[in-house]
Every structure is written in C-alpha cells, then in structure tokens.
Amino acid sequence: MRVETAFARSRAEDRAALVGYLPAGFPTLADSIKAVDIMIDHGADVIELGLPYSDPVMDGPAIQKAADRALAAGFRTRQVFEVTEAVAGRVPILVMTYWNLVERYGVDRFARDFAAAGGAGLITPDLIPDEAGEWIAASDAHDLDRVFLVAPSSTEERIASTVAACRGFVYAQSVMGVTGARAATSAAAPELVRRTRAHTDLPIGVGLGVRSGDQAAEIGAYGDAVIVGSAIVNCYLDTEDIPSGHQRLAELTADLAAGVRR
C-alpha cells in the first residue's frame, strides 16, 4: 500500500496516523513478521521496518540493542525483503535504514527488490537530500516514497529544500537527541511541525520518545503521524519470553492507536 493512502485514511478520520517501528529480524526473523502483524491488527497505520546496522548513530540504546541482537543472530540485508513481502498489503511498509547498507546492496537494486516485495519507501536518517542523487533517481524509477528528516536545528532554507525532496511524508525529529530520548512534551516539536507545515502539504510525522496513548494523543494534536520506536522495541527487550512480548506489543499498540483517535 502507498503511504499516501494511509494518510488519506487518517486525515479522513481527522486524526494522526500511527507509525510503528521495529527492526526486521527482531526479536527473531519470524517474530518480527508476527510483531508487524500484531501492530497492524491493533491499529498501526504505517509500519517502519528497521534495517539492523552495526553503527546506528541516530539510535538510542534500546534500538541499538535490538539491532545488535538481530545481527548477532545472522540477519542479512536481503531478509528485509522477506519481511516486507510477508507483511505488505494492509498498510504501507517503509524501511528505515542507515545509508551504507543500501549503497552496499546497490541503490537501484535495493529499490527494485524492495518495490518488488511490496515496500512503500525508505526513511533515511543519515542521508540528506544533498547527498541523495542516486536514491532520488532510483526511488523515482521504482516509484518509492522518500522520507527525509527535518530537525529543530534545520534552517528555513533547509526545511524547504528537504521537504521538496520528500515524498510520502516528512519525518520531524522532534527533539535534538537520539531515538528513545524522553521528550514527548518538548516545546520544540510543535514549533518544528509549524515551521515545516509552512513549506509543504505533505503529512508530517513526529518521532522520538512516545511511550503511551496519552503522549500519542498530545502529539497527534499537531502532527500528522505519531512515530513510535523504542517503546515498541522495549516490549521484547524487557522479557526473554517472546509470546509475552507479543502480548505487551498488542496492548501498547492498542493504547497508542486509541491515543491518536482521541
């Protein structure tokens, strides 16, 4: 499914979309597929699949740990296509990836294989449009969305040029900090959304730090999407028992989904 379809639906319901993040291959390859299904079943509108990487400089400890675990278990880049294929259809599937993995796979080849698996697009935390020539060409060729990030420190000029390069939605990094930082009530987030809104009609997703339906509701009041990552990963990090992780994930997603619907 296309990202714009998901946002059209949430906009029609006059609410923010819920974007759920989980690294592919975590807690296991099969269970990452199961987990995505659980998130979709409980109200996630968009899925962001993380591609585990050895040096994730924008991620906090929780997501680092999840990625390390997936890699230690032998996760390979191409498996993200298996996961995508298994879960695609009901909601749009994006892959969030550090750029080296895509370059190494081959930018066009990655775009082709991902599109073939039913993927919707990429979120690229360490790729800015200025360096993205090859990716822009490949995403155009394979009709994939491109989600770049804006941040509180971005100048007006950079927000303008970044959103111009985006397709699908814009990722607003709501606090200056890595994923998992607790700052859902940051004053910087609404301000960043306001500034970004002035330059684009694309939906604006707000990331970083959301843990509960209440927080989701608060962000959903000004953002077009609420992106949740570390809290989801923590469902599995805090327990050795995967089924109980699935159970926690179901409850969390339901709570978050209710939040964006308040």
Partner: protein, 397 residues
Amino acid sequence: GHWGEFGGRFVPEALISALEELEAAHAESQGDPAFLAELDRLGREYGNLPSPLYLAERLSEETGVEVWLKREDLNHTGAHKIRNVLGQALLTKRMGKTRIIAETGAGQHGVASATAAAYFGLECTVYMGEEDTRRQALNVARMRLLGAEVVPVTTGSRTLKDAMNEALREWVASVDHTHYLIGSVGGPHPFPMLVRDYCRGIGDEARAQFLERTGTLPDVVAACVGGGSNAMGIFTAFLGDEDVRLYGFEAGGDGYDTGRHAATITAGQVGVLHGARTFVLQDEDGQTIESHSISAGLDYPGVGPEHAHLAATGRAAYEPVDDAEAMAALEKLARTEGIICAIESAHGLAGALRLAKSLEPGSRVLVNLSGRGDKDMGNVVEYFGFEGEPNAKGEDA
C-alpha cells in the same frame, strides 16, 4: 565537501546546521589574520612548534638512503594531534561554544582534547569504549587530571568506532553549545578539510625545512594512516610536487592475509561510515568489520575521504605494514637513534624502510614521526617479552 566520490555529509539532518556553522566559521577564521596569528603563537609558545626536521644518520647509514624524520613526537602532549586540538578549540571559542566532546580509542586524542579544553577553559567530555578505558587506564587518569569527564561507551564492540557513534549521538543533543572535536580527517564535511588544515603545518614546515637543509625536496614522503590526520598533515604541502612520491602505510595487524588488520584502503570497499563516503572495512552487507592492529591509533575500520581520493587517483600509494614489521622498525629506531616512537609512527617508518630497499642509494625519504612511544610501553613490554626481571648482579664475593 567532496573529493571525487568521497567525502560528503552522511549525518542526521539535526547536525547539518552545526556543520554549516562550522564550515562558515572555519572559512572565515582561515581568512582572519588575527585568528591565524593567535593560532601560530599558540603553536609556538604552547605546542612547541615547529617540530624539528631530523636526519637520522645512523639509520641512513644502515639503509643506504637518507632517512629524514619530522619530529612530531616532540610536540606538547607527544604527537601531531596538538595541532588539531589547538585549532579546533580556538575555533570553538570563536563560535562562542563553551564545551567540547571528543571520541578516543587508546586515549591519545582524548588527552589532547582534554589538554586543549584545560588550556582554553572549556568543558570537556570524552567518549571512550569501555574496553579501552580498562586497557588504557593511565590515559583515562590523564584526562581526568586535566579536568575532563570520561564516559565509557558500553554499546557495540565498545571500542573506538562505538565511541565515535556515541559522540555523534551526544552531539545531536548538545550541538547548540558543544563542538565535536573530531580526532582525524574523517567524519562529515567540513571535518576532513578542517582537521587537514590544522595539521598541514607538518608538511608546510617540513617542506621548508627540507629545502633549507638540502636545497631539494624529498623523493618520498611516508606516513602511517589510520584515520589519516598525520598523513594528510604531511602530504598536503607536497601534493603539487609531482616528483615527490607519497606513501601511506596502513596497519596490517596480524598480517594482511589473516584478515585481522586495519588496512582500510588496501582491503576495504567504498562505503559510508561516520558521516563520509570513503573506504570502509565492511562485510558483504555493509556492516562494519572490526579492525585489528597492535597500534590503537590505527585500529579503525575507516579512513579519511581525502586519502580515499588520493588512493583512487593514484597520487598517493597505500600499503599495509603488519604488527611485526612495525615493531621491528620501532626497535631499530630506538637502538640506532635513541628515539622511541609511537607504534603508529613505527608503521610509517617500517614502510619507508621497506621501500628504501627498492630506492636508488642516496634517495631522500621523509617520514612523519607522528608521535612518541611513552604511551605504548605496556605493549612494547608485552611484545618483546621484556617483563622478565633482568639477571641480578651476581658478583662473587
């Protein structure tokens, strides 16, 4: 920001404005005679620059070529790194920031950063892999003595690359008042250019000293390459001298064939690491491979993008030197010249000595002796088996 396909800015958008600010501040400061004069004064009065150019006569006799050493080991804090930290710390003040952060592997860049922070009255936090804080406890003590906070990094492989990840993460959260004082010619633009500009005094001085002493330029300029700051520091002045051959020697670790090494240019693939496109030791998927070297300062799976470009264009040649060859050169220099150099620098020297065998007798080889070996004596003891008590004096009564 690019050298051919290499370089660039592969970092979160959150850092871009800081990088742009830094780029602008650097450009302005490089055109500001007052800034340059102050930096020059600092270098002379505090850093002990310029470092001497030294003809190693006994070593030259043994090798058949003239071996000239640029004695960066004599700088304050014992390596070329003081040039970079003084430059960046002065720039930090100019930007109105009050704090620096730095990554460090064995601790040398951390100590240099803490030194500059103490000198300028800046706050300083140093990120260091937890493994490294244990192995290099004396350098941790140095940093703390200098007033810096040392943060052990417990993520990933708990070594230099993870410390760099952590420093980048921390920088995102504190970028408004904090400068990331990066330790080599890597990272996102403008760092590779900035660090090169602060280190290029090595080559500028050496070129002038060489001309003054010999009336000619060297035939070969050699340096070790980890991230590559000392090598870019000495290469830059000679880039336009087409007859001067430039050699970078990477850490061959246990031996290039074993796969346990840090020979990034020789063995790596083009990729993106820590903000720049360059050669990277990586697996088929692009996951970073851990590097190995007896030299902590060369033990890094990436390399500065300008080196990648010099390698790709053929302007400089890069070859691996393994642990054993480097340690033999370290010992030879100690015994013939009374100079105990850093294990990093011994790689450059070892490569030069190997190269000397194929040079015409009397050729002139300039080696950047980038640091002193005091920090490495633990490794030296272990490597050469010097632990044992020497025999007690057993004179008969």
